[in-house]
């Protein structure tokens, strides 16, 4: 049984971002603190207003190093914290945690933050950096496993085996993200990318190559969440969380044990979004469809119902706008307008949430989409990180 009493009751009232880089020399603490301070100030609030602090630096956060929530409280000397915790690294999970804390009355206003920090395991440059020695590594030692990133290469092999997809379809996802990133100053990769260049890129975990995988980056996001009522007294047009959901099947993070691509976390998420939302695919003005690995985006299109199972290839062909070198679903809906995980940076969906807030409240600057009311966020892959959200502009202000 699920319900959605919380629908439209919680708003995002502030955002702050450091932007992303592939050769940063700042600590994760520094990045997270900067984003947090920016978000609090963006919301027109001060330290005494923050009642909850939630990070995405919890269990399973393989890309994540300190600071957790208690360290953030200490760095900012927040005096009125009544709720704190470190959640799942993928953004909707801690977002839900924040929403629930506010809805239940445990606290009124939450600082939620997420950050990325290249570990010695994720980047050669980071491996050479002596300041990155004392951080946590993988649980399982490669190469003889199909876990974490390798699990997606492994399941990509199955997806390509079962469906009529070729590398050009995967390349459309990569080129779309890069095209969009070119106009986003926060993005780590802004040089042009053609389909031919995608096809020529070296393979890393075959069948996936260099440009099928999201970018290890340094950077941080922070968000201020509060009640919709409170948000209406703050400077920006509130962005309401219409619905948010996570999904997990019974094999959870035992990635090799997933029974079938026909039923995984994305299916559960979509079922939840449909059951708990008054808006449909036709209402979507902007879509954020996870591209941590290119084939994940194709799977999402099928699971969301934008096309039938196995039809993501023809769907991509149809949505491709050759002149603009990007995807426009139904000739109208941009996909990953900030550059996706592939080109803005691999932020486990946090960059999607920030960009959706900017688009919906009309603060996206040169990249502003015309009058969007509804953003669909389909985040994560198949296992512990399948998530989704519908964010909407508050028209009751």
């Amino acid at each position: 049984m699920t319900g959605n009493r919380i629908q439209d009751r919680i708003a995002i009232a502030g955002v702050g971002s450091t932007g992303y880089t592939r050769d940063g020399n700042r600590t994760a603490r520094s990045l997270a603190a900067e984003a947090a301070v920016s978000a609090i100030r963006d919301a027109g609030l001060d330290r005494a207003d923050i009642g909850g602090v939630i990070s995405s630096a919890g269990v399973g956060s393989w890309t994540i190093v300190p600071p957790g929530a208690t360290e953030m409280v200490a760095m900012l000397r927040l005096p009125n914290v009544t709720y704190f915790g470190d959640g799942n690294p993928v953004i909707v999970s801690p977002l839900l945690d924040a929403m629930h804390a506010i809805y239940s009355g445990t606290c009124d206003t939450v600082l939620l933050y997420h950050y990325n920090y290249r570990t010695p395991f994720s980047s050669r440059r980071a491996a050479d950096d002596p300041f990155r020695r004392h951080i946590r590594g993988y649980d399982n030692l490669p190469p003889e496993n199909a876990r974490n990133a390798a699990a997606y290469a492994a399941w990509a092999s199955r997806y390509l085996h079962e469906n009529s997809i070729d590398r050009e379809h995967l390349g459309r996802v990569a080129v779309n993200s890069r095209t969009n990133a070119r106009s986003n100053p926060l993005a780590a990769m802004r040089s042009p990318l053609t389909l031919d260049e995608y096809l020529a890129a070296r393979l890393v975990r075959e069948p996936l190559g260099m440009l099928d995988m999201d970018l290890p980056v340094d950077g941080a996001e922070a968000f201020i969440l509060t009640t919709s009522e409170h948000a209406r007294d703050l400077p920006h047009t509130p962005v309401l969380v219409h619905t948010a959901a996570e999904g997990l099947v019974d094999t959870a993070s035992d990635e090799e044990q997933l029974a079938s691509l026909a039923h995984h976390g994305q299916d559960i998420v979509v079922r939840q979004l449909r059951a708990r939302s008054q808006r449909s695919l036709n209402d979507v003005d902007v879509a954020y469809v996870y591209d941590g690995f290119t084939f994940i985006t194709l799977s999402w299109f099928e699971k969301l119902g934008w096309c039938a199972p196995g039809e993501a290839g023809p769907f991509l062909d149809h949505a491709w706008h050759d002149e603009q070198q990007r995807l426009l679903v139904d000739g109208r809906v941009p996909v990953n307008p900030q550059g996706g995980m592939l080109s803005e940076g691999g932020t486990q969906g946090a960059g999607f949430v920030r960009d959706a807030v900017h688009q919906l409240r009309g603060t996206a600057g040169d990249r502003q989409i015309d009058d969007p009311r509804t953003a669909l966020l389909a985040i994560g892959g198949f296992f512990y990180n399948s998530q989704g959200a519908v964010l909407i502009r508050d028209d009751n202000r």
Partner: protein, 144 residues
């Protein structure tokens, strides 16, 4: 000309990063160095990337006198084995003279047993694997 050994090689077990490296470089000079805010003038510890009091990122690593008074004091009767460590082993948190509430923790030397809270102390430098390591000792004339 020889290349100086990097500070993270002198203290291979220390969690050194960009935010706190000045502390460890200071140790090599027998100085206790903490970030002081260029905006509000306050010190803080541990060495965060921003001033916890005014949220300014304009921090200036600044040596302290190393003088202070014992604020917390314990005597460990067992613990991890390490070079130069024998039990019972005193650990003190010292409130530094420069600012109320600014504290630094290490061991105490030249004391006997548990150092009394309120004891005036100053820095003493130990050798740990060839690198200076800060400790505290009672100031001249201080009773224990």
């Amino acid at each position: 000309m020889t290349t100086p050994i990097p500070v993270w090689e002198r203290y291979p077990a220390a969690p050194i990063d960009q935010d706190n490296v000045a502390l460890y470089k200071g140790w090599l000079r027998h100085e206790l160095t903490l970030p002081r805010c260029g905006n509000c003038g306050k010190w803080h510890a541990p060495s965060y990337p921003l001033c916890p009091f005014c949220w300014s990122f304009d921090l200036i690593p600044t040596p302290l006198s190393g003088r202070g008074t014992v604020h917390l004091s314990i005597l460990l009767h067992q613990g991890p084995s390490a070079k130069g460590v024998s039990y019972p082993y005193p650990v003190v948190t010292v409130e530094l003279a420069e600012q109320a509430g600014l504290r630094f923790t290490s061991t105490a030397v030249e004391g006997c047993g548990r150092l009394a809270i309120g004891t005036p102390v100053e820095l003493a430098w130990l050798d740990r694997d060839g690198a200076p390591f800060p400790a505290f000792r009672p100031r001249d004339g201080a009773t224990q």
